[in-house]
Symmetry: C2
Subunit: 434 residues, 2 copies
């Protein structure tokens, strides 16, 4: 088998951890597998480098990885972002060399590949680039020579040869992209947790590790998954059908497989039965980082809502849930949620618009969003109704609702977030397993 | 004018120093010059990375930059050395990005070039590579766009695209190589001293900064020059006639120009006169890192001396001075010097040889070498005699002598080193200037 293994910052955070990582690589090799390893920067290193840049640029310019572009006096945003990528990408280069040396020290054959050696091609979006292609030549050659190939994660090259980075957690996408390009049998994400859980165990101690989850479910459960892997890497894996295995770097237990949805042929009734037995709800996610905006008494004329969301989109603000009430007396209310970090910017944008004379802008940060996710919803009716019933029994007031094919999300008061998660986890018997 | 400026590790050692470096770059640009900047790693960074590698590999494997290859159990020396170069080269990449950002912050246009972007091609000798060519395409393009180009020093790429490094102080050679490739008007080495001195001011407080020195003199004065720039960079500059200007990064005073020897046309009698007025001795250098080996009673037969030095050469030991006494009764004595660090290895090698029955191997670490250097010696007789006279007056016993066209070196007891330097400095009136 050809495996791609990705080790996160904690798994290479000390020399002792690096040695453990090297031992695991050699065990994998001893089991007869070809191996490509992708490493993150040693934990703390990326932040150290960003802090250097921040201190250099002064308090007004805070470059962010994967965040909005920097606004500054001297230099253009793009120039800064380019240098920032050149700067922070060194962290993964250091880890890659150290891991390769550690494998060599234990008697294995290894080589680190970085920058142009790696052949990870991306678009031109500094600090948040997307992988466009992978040159496999050097990778194939080193694998054919029997070496463990240790790749610097998180980075690529744009068409001009500038270094780009793939956003926070981008090493996961590096790993999946390499697995896709090489046709690897699996992409293992080795981390400090055992896998993906039905919900955050800090909220619900009975949360259970999930053995298998579909790409779609994992993407919808972003707020759970974001702790163990970059959600964009799952989208990439789904597009290229790469089986992803999230597991602990500290033991050899099976973790969580992220895989395509099982679609048994119509004739296979046993498989259909198994599919029916699949849990309706796979997990419960909590997102505390949203805020709610309500516009009251908007004139109910064509285009007024388009004006509002057009203005926010132009400013790069991502709107999540939207509710528009029925019109009464020629006016309507619109409520929507945005990332809490964008709330001030949103209100500023809205103030520039010519809304109605009686229109008020109300904001509420003290909310959270709870989502239940599961591909089983496609074949099971009444999941939303059951969720509302569970929350009602717990005396939790629902402020907003949005549903998709495999998800039901509700917005509730922030104080009720944990209780809502526990109630839904219990209500759908997630602690019991499939 | 097109200038190349090299800033050492101290000059980019803190964010405040990096800002000062950026200001100086912008001043140079404001004076109308095109500018390529070469930076070292922030002071301490290279050692930090090497320490990481050393701790990882354990006490028996000590990789060295520019030193002999590592001997290890797992992995080959070359594999380790390759990873070490991939590792330590990140230090200069970090500085290059930070300096470019600092220039941008001050309103200037700058771009950092590293790795394949830089186009510094070298041979395949990891940890001590030699520059073979420079791709000028990207450099020319960025200069034409009006940018200050900030290059990561110390590193290049071998023909397979592996990262190589140029040995300790290799950023100086990076700078000279770029200056040569671009046909720059000068290569400025910005450092924390004012230039090259007639001798080490810690030994002779009256040591005087030299305004001009020839490439040949600088190379012979390596032990003085090695503190301010890599001697190999001077050899490179001589080969390509690049004027090198060693000066302080802390002020705007002229430093020391390292230039070709002035060769006025025969008809120019005024110039000839000036040339005659040039000092006979340019400087006095002290080297404490040599040790002396004496082999007594070697059978005086053809090939015996060749056997000795052949054995040492095969082990990579560089022999400096050699004296062979006249033969008496069919036997002879040979005395030579080697780097102090190689003395044990030398003795081991010599013990493996079948020398004479009465041959003894004597070693002496308590020696030092003093050299007086000056192209004026070519036209002035009696410089060596004058030097011996000066030392004799100071009651210093000379153990070995070696002379070249522009240098006289003597080996004396280590305890007499400083006195010898001061006596020669005084004896040739070096404090008085040309």
């Amino acid at each position: 088998m050809l495996l791609v293994q990705k080790y996160g910052g904690t798994s290479v955070g000390t020399l002792e951890r690096i040695r453990a990582c090297a031992r695991r690589c050699l065990e994998t090799r001893a089991n007869g597998h070809d191996l490509v390893v992708v490493v993150s920067a040693m934990s703390g290193e990326t932040n150290r480098l960003i802090t250097l840049a921040n201190e250099l640029l002064g308090p007004r310019e805070q470059p962010q990885i994967g965040g909005p572009y920097v606004v500054s006096e001297g230099g253009s945003d793009r120039d800064y972002q380019r240098e920032l990528d050149q700067l922070v990408s060194t962290g993964e280069k250091v880890s890659a060399s150290l891991v390769a040396m550690a494998i060599q020290r234990l008697g294995g054959a290894a080589i680190s590949l970085v920058g142009h050696q790696l052949g990870m091609q991306t678009d031109r979006v500094f600090t948040n680039a997307r992988v466009t292609a992978v040159d496999r030549g050097r990778l194939h050659a080193e694998l054919a020579a029997g070496k463990i190939v240790v790749c610097a994660g998180f980075q690529g090259l744009d068409p001009e040869g500038n270094i780009t980075t793939l956003g926070r957690g981008g090493s996961d996408t590096s790993a999946v992209a390499l697995a896709a390009a090489l046709g690897a049998d699996a992409c293992e994400i080795l981390t400090d947790v055992d896998g993906v859980y039905t919900t955050d165990p800090r909220i619900e101690p009975r949360a259970r590790k999930v053995d298998r989850i579909t790409y779609e479910e994992m993407i919808e459960l972003a707020s759970l998954g974001a702790k163990v892997l970059q959600i964009r890497s799952v989208e990439f894996a789904m597009k290229h059908c790469v089986p992803v295995h999230v597991r602990s770097s500290l033991n050899n237990r099976e973790g969580t497989w992220i895989v395509p949805e099982a679609t048994p042929p119509p004739s296979d009734s046993a498989a259909q039965l198994r599919n029916l037995e699949a849990p309706v709800v796979r997990g419960v996610a909590l997102d505390r980082n949203e805020a709610k905006v309500t516009l009251t008494n908007i004139p109910d004329v064509p285009g007024s809502v388009a004006t509002i969301f057009g203005a926010l989109a132009r400013d790069g603000i991502v709107v999540d849930m939207i509710i528009q009430n029925a019109s009464r007396e020629g006016a309507t209310d619109v409520t929507f949620t945005v990332p809490e970090a964008d709330i001030e910017r949103s209100v500023e944008q809205l103030r520039t618009l010519e809304l109605g004379r009686d229109t008020q802008i109300l904001t509420d940060r003290a909310i959270c969003k709870i989502s239940i996710v599961g591909v089983g919803m496609r074949t099971h009716a009444g999941v939303a109704a059951r969720a509302f019933e569970v929350l009602a029994r717990a005396n939790i007031n629902i402020q907003m609702v949005s549903t998709s094919e495999i998800k039901v999300s509700v917005v509730v008061d922030e104080r009720h977030g944990d209780l809502a998660v526990r109630s839904l986890h219990e209500g759908f018997a997630l602690h019991e397993g499939p």
